[in-house]
């Protein structure tokens, strides 16, 4: 039996998640999982030569964290699309807060559009949009 899509109301805030402080180990773990071995993400000297203050994470790391958080909430089988834009780099030692809200609901198709973001303090690291199947409340 497939899981019933969750019920969401327009304007509702999604239950947020905090991850961090991000360590070099977190970044290396993601490199091992995903296969991105660009030295910008593990070699401080290389990162500094490239003009960065130090090692930064792969955008796909926080994109994956934001996606996993959303699919934990709405269930993976009800995720129709997910997109992210990378706004600023995430550095070692920073903590990110994943949050979002229900932007709109199409009652006919029972699809909700969610706007999402990951922030370090007040700084936006990534923004995202997810379209998900929901149960429309009557």
């Amino acid at each position: 039996m497939t899981r019933t899509p969750i019920t969401l109301l327009p304007g509702a805030q999604l239950e947020s998640r905090r991850i961090g402080p991000i360590t070099q180990t977190d970044i290396v773990r993601f490199a091992g999982a995903g296969g991105d071995f660009n030295p910008l993400h593990h070699d401080p000297d290389y990162a500094i030569r490239a003009g960065l203050p130090g090692v930064i994470s792969m955008g796909q790391m926080q994109a994956g964290m934001l996606a996993a958080w959303v699919s934990d909430l709405v269930h993976i089988e009800h995720l129709i699309s997910y997109s992210v834009r990378f706004a600023s780099p995430l550095r070692i030692g920073e903590t990110i807060d994943l949050a979002g809200q229900v932007d709109s609901i199409d009652a006919t198709t029972a699809i909700a559009t969610l706007s999402l973001h990951a922030k370090s303090g007040d700084r936006v690291v990534i923004t995202g949009v997810a379209r998900v199947r929901i149960t429309v409340s009557h």
């Binding site: 991105d36 910008l40 996606a67 996993a68 089988e77 995720l79 990378f86």
Partner: protein, 153 residues
């Protein structure tokens, strides 16, 4: 030697094709690395109870294609300087979640290649790539779109 612009691939060109099997251990590694907590990704009982016949992967699992692609090579093929390249945005459109045992084939094409003036001067190059992921039956599982940004030298 060829100049970067001469190496630009026309829109529609296939950049690369990768094929790999979706494995339970890799789903677990990726779930751990992205803090996915839903047990359907790692626990057979939980996934069966949720209606899955096989463990589903997390939403951005196809990122593991990084293990199967030569990053230096595709960046060279596009005529991009790797130290100046960042990913601007990515999107995924799902038909279904990839699941354990799927043999996925990802065909990545160049769909757009443009330049625009950067905010701090110089010219930025924007390359849009689209990967169609299909299973062994040839059915679409998901489509991924990414925009690479090369900062001006």
């Amino acid at each position: 030697m060829t100049s970067p612009t001469a190496r630009q691939l026309p829109a529609g060109s296939v950049l690369d094709v990768v094929s790999f099997e979706v494995e339970a251990g890799k789903i677990r590694e990726f779930a751990t690395a992205t803090h996915a907590l839903d047990p359907v990704h790692t626990d057979t009982e939980a996934s069966t109870a949720a209606g899955f016949t096989k463990l589903p992967a997390t939403p951005t699992h196809v990122v593991v294609a990084g293990h199967h692609r030569n990053q230096q090579q595709f960046v060279r093929d596009l005529g991009l300087a790797i130290e100046r390249v960042v990913v601007g945005s990515v999107e995924w459109h799902y038909t279904r979640p990839p699941a354990v045992g799927d043999r996925l084939t990802g065909t990545r094409r160049v769909v757009d290649d443009t330049t625009k003036d950067g905010k701090r001067g110089g010219t930025m190059r924007l390359v849009t790539l689209e990967t169609e992921w299909t299973d062994s039956a040839g059915d679409r599982v998901l489509t991924q779109r990414e925009v690479l940004i090369e900062r001006g030298a």
